[in-house]
């Protein structure tokens, strides 16, 4: 396969260059300057990527695929399809399934389902504790051997600080990344949105920023104590960004991610009681949004991950306080991240880095670089395409997105995983030849 005329983004080198790619046997066989490669007349599919940007396969390191257990919301197959449609070639999925992923059998089941789907690569994040109960550690070694790349109790954060300390120590030895959803569940109890002027005006119980920051500080303290790395999930407050900045300045091995909604929306989105704007952590203030953007620009936040949380209308078409937390994100992450580039907050390679190499490195996954000899994981993006997101266009099984009806700019046209085209927008890309090798 010959992908020609596109501009290739290399987030590691920080470059955007026009390069032609030759894909053979699932790998990037050759990368050549434009107009050098000539059609050798073989059965070669030519993909015209002119006016398009080619990015290394993106990874969303924080998704909920709901299988096993909640297949009516999403399955590994539907989630992976939404992922490749959105431009992602890899996913790391959280363990809060039913049963939770706290054992080899669940990890292997997830990998088997992902293999069957044959779309995006799926990397399970296993639970830190059995049943996500915060008590006994899961078998990190066995889980890693089965294919888990990290551990997290996600929405049921480990409350017992000693358990968390031991998890950090043991996980480093076993080569697993520890991801912490930072929430003091006593302080957030009963809350359904950010505590502030909007919660006061709407009469909705608040979740104070301190509920997140207390836990961020604890994780930083434990990381300092043990010398072990910790990754902070979905950072949403200015205070968290500042805590992480100071820790990094001191050399504490803490990394962080945020989700597109935390730099795209603020708590005003909740006015009118729209349950599609309900997630945990909640949308914060405009000042927090600014701090998240600054944190991304200054490299304090390493990764953009969506916290893709599919819920059906059974959980969302309810009174605000009764509705489930969470929104889907796989199909909107790319345009929302490209907004940061257009706002001048991130350069294009930097932005793509936060959706690719930074997260791959964190999870020790040897994919996601466009270099000769590497796995051909890539996406071809039309950064200029503007469209209104319609519910019927959403591929994920659940439609709980606050961006429905909004105008988005930037769209994925084609996704390739291991040299195989796994997703292609109809008629998006001019086909000069239809014969296909892959």
């Amino acid at each position: 396969m010959w992908i020609k005329g596109g501009k290739v983004v290399d987030p590691v080198k920080g470059t955007v260059k026009q390069v032609d790619l030759l894909v053979e046997n699932g790998k990037i066989a050759k990368m050549l300057p434009p107009d050098i490669f000539e059609d050798i007349g073989a059965d070669l599919r030519i993909i015209d990527a002119s006016n398009r940007v080619i990015v290394p396969g993106l990874i969303d390191m924080h998704v909920h695929l709901r299988e096993p257990g909640h297949e009516y919301k999403e399955t590994i197959s539907t989630g992976a399809r939404a992922a490749v449609a959105g431009g992602f070639t890899s996913l790391a999925c959280m363990p809060n399934t039913l049963p939770p992923n706290d054992s080899r059998s669940v990890t292997e089941f997830i990998l088997m389902q992902a293999e069957r789907a044959g779309l995006a690569k799926v990397y399970p994040i296993a639970a830190i504790t059995m049943g996500q109960k915060g008590e006994a550690l899961t078998e990190f070694g066995d889980l890693r051997d089965a294919g888990a790349v990290g551990v997290s109790d996600d929405g049921f954060p480990v409350a017992d600080s000693e358990v968390m300390r031991r998890a950090l120590e043991y996980a480093r030895y076993q080569g697993l990344t520890v991801i912490s959803h930072c929430e003091d569940r006593h302080l957030s109890r009963g809350g359904v949105m950010h505590e502030g002027v909007v919660s006061t005006r709407t009469g909705l119980p608040g979740i104070p920023a301190a509920g997140e920051e207390i836990m961020v500080f604890r994780e930083i303290s434990l990381s300092k104590l043990t010398g072990c790395p910790v990754h902070i999930a979905h950072v949403s407050t200015a205070g968290s960004v500042e805590l992480i900045r100071r820790a990094r300045d001191e050399g504490v091995p803490v990394t962080a991610e945020t989700a597109p909604h935390y730099f795209s929306l603020d708590h005003n989105a909740v006015k009118g009681y729209d349950t599609k704007a309900k997630m945990n952590p909640p949308l914060r203030t405009p000042d927090d949004v600014q701090a998240i953007k600054d944190g991304l620009a200054r490299g304090i936040i390493d990764v953009i991950a969506t916290d893709h949380a599919p819920h059906s209308n059974l959980e969302k078409d309810l009174e605000f306080d009764k509705a489930a937390f969470g929104i889907i994100g796989l199909e909107t992450a790319l345009p929302l991240t490209l907004d940061l580039v257009r706002q001048g907050i991130l350069g294009l390679p930097e932005a793509i880095g936060k959706l690719s190499c930074n997260a791959y490195a964190l999870l020790r996954i040897p994919r996601g670089r466009l270099i000769e000899g590497a796995q051909a994981d890539l996406s071809i993006i039309d950064t200029e395409c503007e469209y209104v997101l319609r519910e019927e266009d959403i591929i994920s099984k659940s439609k709980n997105s606050p961006f429905i009806g909004k105008t988005l700019k930037g769209r994925n046209d084609l996704t390739m995983v291991g040299g195989k085209v796994v997703w292609e927008r109809d008629a998006a890309i001019g086909h000069q030849q239809s014969r296909q090798i892959a």
């Binding site: 006061t200 005006r201 009469g203 909705l204 119980p205 009118g272 078409d317 309810l318 009174e319 605000f320």
Partner: protein, 309 residues
Amino acid sequence: MRKFEHKDLLGISQLSVEDITLILNTAESLKEISSRDIKKVPTLRGKSVVNFFFEPSTRTRISFEMAAKRLSADTVSISALGSSTAKGETLIDTARNLQAMNPDLIVLRHSSSGAPHLLAREVKAGIINAGDGINEHPTQALLDLFTIREKKQKIEGLEVAIIGDISHSRVARSDILGLTKMGARVTVSGPPTMMPAEIEALGVEVVHDPIKAVKEKDVVMLLRIQLERQGKVLFPGLREYASCFGLNRDIIREAKSDVIIMHPGPINRGVEITSEVADGPYSVILDQVTNGVAVRMAILYLLMGGSKE
């Protein structure tokens, strides 16, 4: 002649000064009906009103029912316990079923903030918020405004203190919005544990000490302390609350000599208010209840397309 340009009454937040004045003026002319021998006019004959109460309520529910009946509307009252909600039906489904029976108005009391807004999006009938979670209780605020105007002949420029759990009070929220819109100056008071975040943004002053808060006030409003809502951490107990924040005769002396004392009820005697104050000469607590019927008649009338000359 002015018409009321709303399908629903979801909160004071949606109302303009003109809307509020229209409601109060309409209530004034309807109030007289309740003192007649035959307390009924045919104004809303053939209209149907559903009183849908997901939370226990005596005062508000009876008040709405009386208001509707005095205007000759047909009323049906259902509570969550007797409805299919108890069988697991969602609010939206219940609403759609109600809609299928074509009521003109639905009066909703619900424990979730925003529930009436959800209902209003789903059904054609007008929705009246009779209290949603800790958000708003607009008809209570309107009857409070009515009572204040009746006793003081004005609202603008009055000094009002609201004492109690401001955080968890839909009455407080609606009263704050209504009073500030109508030009009164509002001071809120109570323990810091019961003050919502950034409440000053609503245009009120916060004075925790009730003695200071009632100083030179024209109106003092108390809120019910609700043990069932407030759990155990917002204040140590009723005894402590009564001694630190309860309104007694000594504190009242700090207010203006013609102060009026208001309470949305039901009152906890000896907790937020002593009996001598509740039953005393300044108390207008029962006038509030009387006026509640007139104000709700006005709202039913205006929402069904009535106008006021």
